[in-house]
Structure formats: C-alpha cells, structure tokens
Subunit: 353 residues, 3 copies
C-alpha cells in the first residue's frame, strides 16, 4: 500500500519556480468573526459593525485582515512548513480585495528561493503565497521564508537562490477599497479622536493593557485557521522537545498585539500591508503579552484626501509591561521578553478640512 | 504628542447630566449565539430554535437577553468603569426591542448621580445606560452604580447627587413583543410542563447542577463582549493585586446562573427586567458555580392571557451545592460562598384554559 | 409545590415501546460550524467550502456529520442518560438528509430493550434515537445502549428484552445525497490523491498527529451540543467520585479522532453510517489523543460509479503514539491507553475512468 498520510515536504523536495496549490478551500463566516472577537477582543469599529461599515460605502463589516492572513497562512502549512524548524520572516505582504462572511478562500505558493544551510541538515525556503477568494481575486499576497529540515541528509544541495526581498510596500501598491468613503467617519463610534494628522514618525505608544494566554485559546485559534503544525497541539511530543511546552502559533501573538494596539491606534482600522515581521522569541501558555508601537512613517495615499497611511512597528513583549518600550539592544539582538517585531501599514482617516 | 491611549474617566471627570456616547457599535450574529451556547449551555427553546420561535410569531430565535446585556455593558466599560474599584449594583433594567442576528448594537450613558467617598480617594458614579439597535430602538435601559478612583486626589468633590433608584420594574413597564403568540407553545419541546400558574411566591428551587469555570472560558466571553477591563485578562498585573488572580467578569456568573436555572425554570424563556443585582464576592477560575432561585412575586401582564411574569431572585454560590440555599445571614451579610444575588423578571407561558 | 427540576429517568422509569420526545430543538448555524472547526480542526473540503460543495451539486457546505450526531445525542441526555453509569455502545447509525446551517434539529427516542443487571442496582436501556430536521426528515437514526441506575432499589425488574442489534449498515441502506455529483471532485483542493480504489481491506493507517485536551475545550464542546451530563462540568462533584476529574464526553474523542484521521483519509469526506462504537477507557483534560484506522471493508454503492464506501475502524489512544497500532489484546480487552474503538462507514470518491 502507498503511504496515505502527508509527510510534508522536506528541504530537498522544493524546486525554484515550483507552484504549490494548497488544500482545503475555506468559506469564512460570521462564526469565524465571532470566534476571532472572542479570542482577541478587537474593537476596530469598521470590522465590528455592519451598520457603520455600510455608512462608509462597504457592503458590510469586512473580516479583520489578520483573520484573512491566518486562514491563508494556515493553508500553506501542510505543504511548506510541516517539517519546519523555524518561521524566519515575512515581507512584501499586500492585502487585496476585502473579505466578507461567505467568501471562500484558497491559497497557492511559488518557491522563489532556496538556500541550504552549512550544516547540511536544513535549508531556507522562500515562498510567495497568494490567497484568493471564490472569484479568483487576490486577497493577500506575501513572501515568507522558513527553515525546513532535510528528509535525506545526503540529498544534494540545490543551487542557492536568495530572492531580492520586497521592501516596504509602497503607497502606490496599497489597495484601498474604491467604494470606501470616509466622509462620514464617526470618531466617537470608533473610540478615538486621533486621526492620521495626529501621528508623527518617531512617536511611540505604549498600548498599556496585557493579556495572558491559555492553552485552550491558542489551540482553538490555530485549529480555526486549519493550521495543523503539530508543535502547537501535542504535549506528549513537546515533552520530548527543547521547550517541553506546546509552542504558540506566531500569528496568535500578532493578533493579540494588534487587538491591544487599539488602545492608541483605534482609527487605524485596516491593515493594508505587512512589510516585515519576525517572531523573536517563542511564547507559551501562561505568558502575558503586552505591546507597544512606533510610527515609522506617515504618508498620503494617491487620490485619497479622506485617509492616509501609517507605517507602524508593533513590538510585543511577554511578562513585562511595554511601558519601557522593550526592544532590540544595540547589537541588534532581542532580549528574552521581546516576542514579536512586526512592521506593517495601516490606513487611518484624515481630518476632514 | 498628545497621549493617544484612553486613560478612562476618573471620578472627578464625571458631571451630572453628562452624556457619554460609547464606542464600537457591534453587529451581533449567529456566531455570537453559538459562542454563547458553548460558554454557558443555555437550553431555553425560544432562543435555541428558529422554527419554534417562528411558530410563536417571531421572525426567528432572538438573542439571549443576557447576551444583549453583556454587549451593551461591554461598551460602557471604557468610559465608565476603566478605573473602577467595584461594580456596586444594577437597577431598573428593562429589555426593549428583541435583538436578532444581524442587528447592530450601540450604547450611551447619562451620569445621574455622583457621591465622593469620605476617604477622598474614590466616589460612586451612577449612570443610566441605554443600548439601541441600528434603528435607534431601545433594546436595554438600566441603571448601574460603580465605585471609581479619583485620578487627582486633590480634585474637589462634586455636589453629592444620589438618584432615586428605580425599584422593581412594574408590570406595565415590561415590554412584551406584540407579535409573540404563545397559543401553540410546546412544553415538551421546551423541556418542562411547569407553567406560570405552577409557581408561587416564596417557592425555592435548587438548580442542582454545577459548572467549574476555566480561565480560557471567562476570557473568551469577556472579549466577545468587547469588555476590556484589565482585571480579567492580565495575570502579571493580578500578581501585584489583592487576589493574585484574574477576576471573573460578574456578568459571566449571571449567565452561568441563568443557564443553570433552566433546570427548574425551563419555561421562563425571556428576561424582561433586571430589578437589581449585586456581585457579592469575587470569583476566579477553578470555582464551581451552583445556583438556586426564589420566586419573589408572580404577576399577570396587562392585556396578555397567554403569559405571565415571575419576579425571581437567583443566587449563585461557589464550591458549595445550592441544596441548602446559601444566602445572606441575618445581619444582611453574605457568606464567602455566595457570589451573586440577582433580582429579575422573566416571562413564562400561562396554561391555556 | 411540585418539584420543578428534572431528575432524569431511572431504570425503572423506562418501558418497552416508550416514546420519548426530547426537549430543545436547535437551529444549527455557521457559528456552530466555526466552533466545531476551532474545537477539532477538521479539514474535509466539502464541509469547509461552500464553493467546492456547490461545484459538487450541493446547496452549500453541509455540517460535519459528527456535529449532527452530537447535537442529536445531546438532546437525548436529559431523558435517557442523566442517571447513567456508562454509555455502553452504538449500533445501526444511519445518516439521512444532509444538514445545512439554518436547519433546526430535534430528536425522539424509542425504548427497544431493557435488562436489569444482576446486582439489582442498575440496568441496561436500549434506545433507538432519531434526529429530524424542521421538515421532519430523518437526519440521523441510531441505536445506543446505556447502563442506568435504579432510583428505587426495590423497584421490580422488568421483563428482559434484549433487542437484536443491527449489524453493519448495508450498502443499500446508506443514504447518498442524490444531488451529489463527484465528476468534478478536486483532489488537490481536498488534500490527497488517494481515492476509493487506493484503499484495501486490512490496510492500517497511523494518523500521526496528536492533540492534547484542555478542560475549557471539552466543556465548550459539550455545552455547544446542549449536553448537560454533569460528570463533564462539575469539579467539586468529581472530587467525590472515582476519578477525581471531570470526564470528557465520549463524542469529543470521536470528533478528535475523526479530525486526526484526515491525515490518511482526506477524501473520506462523509460519514454515512456508524456501525458500532465503544468508549473503552475514560479520558480527562491533559490527555493527548492519537488515532489509527483500519480499513474493514471496501464496497461499491448501488447506482453510483462516482463514489464508493469504506468501512473503517478508527481507534483512539491516549498519551501514546498510534505508530504501534494499540489495540485489544488477544483476550479481547483493551489496554488503558485505548480510549475509543469506532466502526463507521465513509463515502469516498472513485477514480474517474
């Protein structure tokens, strides 16, 4: 009998230019939205209220962009990172068509880089993954690179191809829904009077609040995204590993940090781009997550007087308040308490003159 | 840079007559209903079945009234009780228009009373909060009072205004959906043959079952309601506090007690009023909640031969069966095991003659 | 006053031929589907994607068959197994009309067997339970037998009636949706190239992955199904019992094993029958569940060239990998690590010739 289970791809199984069509298309629903709310407590008004979203020209409240990210990411795991040692980074992430309850998401990836590590046991795989809705419209397009084990240590190393990683997504490449009209944006309903003009590059915001992670929560989340990477679920296997604990899916931390960032960035309702990101330390159940953000840039959007963009860096730390802005040290290394360094671009309404 | 985060209001920030428009309108959905079911296990048939609700003249299964309460309450937290020491009580709560999946809820509050405490460090704020649907119809109107810290201990005390608290909501003030017709009410489907006529003032019912609370559950619930009071979420902060534990949101206990009360009050499917309520002791993960109820009054409803009202007092206790009806002692104090004393009015079908 | 709470039925309360109409009809929704996904992480494509299900002729993604099972089963608990000592077995389970979000499920049971145990304290009750949708169409029909306590030890033993238990559900009795057309079935989207022809009787598959159970998860699940058997929820009561732990609802383990079985049986998207099943050991929070399956039979379906049936036996074990296929020993007994032995029939697309 042929083996029926999926062993995942090992480093030597990937080829430059290879196209992977990922399994399990997924219709996202109001049920997913409710669970996302219960898991993180987001309060961004556009994603919370059909009525308010309708006032802004949208057909209803769109899904949180990170929920879209997690669903698309989850699909890639079985083909890309089942044998991964570490998820190394993200770049060039652009959110496309807004996603609404009832949409069906699927994902494909292209291998754009391969580099075997000098130890001969692992290699770095660079993929560009694209999530699409049921009409084939792009909803998310991003690059990630991940360190993957070799299945056969004697497999020959491929020619090294390190792709030029996209830098910060440019203003012209951000996709703003054409139907979105912020003329009637209600800052009271949104929970903050601070609009795009009120933020300046270099500004740092401590998001104040903290949230402690439970095992049940991160597993519910990760399964909701149909992400089956076993490090998140199997305590018996974890007991044999380095940490003796189930690892939290890194995206769970991104969503926690984003929800915490409402307190200070309430009007930054839409993530338009993920410029980069790194999970700088593992997290486990029992950790308490805090977050702070730095405004890296503020920029206008072509053809839009009603909203602008903020490029942000949100840093999450654990078991330590973000009051002191825990960060890289001067040598570029992260202390143990810093668990996420996430560079992304949000859209925020401008003050109507 | 102006501070971007919300510090919440301190006692000295409130003014009599002040109107607060709370943030984050929220469309409630079938996803919220499913989570509410998973969190508490309610079995009231009208809220569980679109088909049965339709037979009674409703457009579908309405949301559990307490889910509406929690969503409205959650909105008030950021403005009213972010700096609260204790949630002291509720009164005069009337449920209005029924809420269905797809409705969008928002909330406002008016400050109706202020009384600085003699210690000069805290004061009591009385607010009347109103939840409305997307058409502006009232869905819930209630008074609560809460002890709030002063931000500046030297702030002058306001003139004391203690509002006359509403007493028990009168029969004439209860809102019964006009379209509701109980002629075909099915007691078998509802799970109990006991109708309004079968209950008498003074009757006590031990609801028998107990439910142990987990950290993940109360946090999922509280985030679902977009209630971000930090005492529920941050274990690191809790370690510095009096209890060393994350506090359970009091409303979580109300919903647990209500779900437990199905066993004995299965036909009391709709909460029409919250006459009063107090969280008499804190609760924590690991506590096991039991409940008992006393029928305080039974009364007819104007113009309705098909249903009547029961004014109930449901008492929740922890780590102790409700078999012995744990209660206030003669000096009016509550033992440590009593965690909720909730006075409310439910509608129950009458026996068709 | 008459007792208002439901004491459940004791062994002596059952009569052969008795019809029980169970309470609380339940409209199932996209919210339930999302929670089911979060609880178990199923990836069967037909249940995951409205778009893919539509391509196959269905009106949308049907509910997972086991979610239907749990909802129907949950309704029977208050009347059948509130005073149960043990759930002994299932047989002859046939899934009928597919269930979609918006359908309302209700359940009835008929008592088909009674046998008092020789200790005079308990007896075995055999029931045939039927779940129906809002149109009265059968969605699930199955037999289970359960050991129930006597309430009055002096109650006379009934005449013993042990029904002939249905054997494996025959091919002719399986219900395949007429509108289902697998001509365009997409194995890439479904996550596996292995179709009905690729499986053979006797084949064993280790499903590889493990999942650790948390208290919050099994309680959320069990309440979602409105199953209120107290052994699952009350730690204080459990402290007085044999295990000192809350017992996991056996159906939770079935759903975990089924979700794990995707890895090896990805195209077996629909459960058509439950031929038998036993919970061979109790499970508790903290247990890590693994599963393996054996193909018992492969058979064709009358009138269908596009799909066939696999009769499977899926065995779940705890805290021990399924790599060694833990099983009954030669004396027919199960070791402590084996927690489920489940015999069921799935439909799987055939290779289009």
């Amino acid at each position: 009998m042929v083996q029926k289970t999926n062993p995942g791809n090992y480093f030597e199984d990937f080829r430059i230019g290879q196209e992977l069509v990922h399994a399990t298309p997924r219709t996202v629903t109001e049920g997913d939205v409710a669970l996302y709310t219960a898991l993180y407590g987001p309060r961004f008004a556009v994603q919370s209220s059909d009525a308010l979203a309708g006032d802004l020209g949208l057909p209803g409240a769109p899904l949180d962009d990170l929920l879209v990210f997690h669903v698309v990411f989850g699909k890639t795991v079985a083909d890309i990172s089942l044998n991964a040692v570490a998820n190394l980074g993200y770049a060039g992430g652009v959110f496309g068509q807004s996603v609404y309850p009832g949409d069906t998401l699927s994902a494909t990836s292209e291998v754009i880089g391969l580099k075997e590590n000098s130890n001969g046991k692992t290699g770095v795989v660079y993929v560009r993954s694209v999530g699409r809705n049921q009409s084939g419209e792009m909803v998310l397009d991003y690059v990630r690179w991940v360190m993957v084990r070799k299945g056969d240590p004697d497999a020959a190393a491929p020619d090294t191809v390190v792709p030029e990683l996209p830098g910060t997504v440019a203003a012209a490449d951000l996709q703003v829904p054409a139907e979105l009209d912020l003329a009637v944006y209600d800052t009271t309903a949104a929970g903050s009077p601070h609009l795009w003009e009120d933020y300046a590059a270099g500004e740092r915001i401590d998001h104040v609040d903290g949230m402690t992670i439970e095992e049940a929560e991160h597993m519910l989340a990760t399964r909701l995204y149909q992400n089956t990477a076993k490090v998140h679920f199997d305590q018996v296997a974890a007991n044999q590993g380095r940490f003796k604990r189930r690892l939290i899916y890194g995206g769970h931390i991104i969503s926690m940090a984003r929800a915490l960032s409402f307190n200070g960035l309430a009007n930054g309702f839409k993530i338009a781009a993920i410029n980069g990101g790194a999970h700088t330390n593992p997290t486990f159940a029992g950790d308490t997550i805090y977050a702070w953000s730095e405004v890296l840039e503020t920029f206008e959007l072509p053809g839009r007087a009603d909203l602008g963009a903020l490029r942000l860096r949100t840093v999450a730390c654990k078991d330590q308040s973000a009051e002191t802005f825990p960060d890289r040290t001067e040598d570029g290394k992260y202390g143990e308490s810093v668990v996420l360094d996430f560079d992304y671009t949000v859209l925020m309404p401008r003050r109507v003159s």
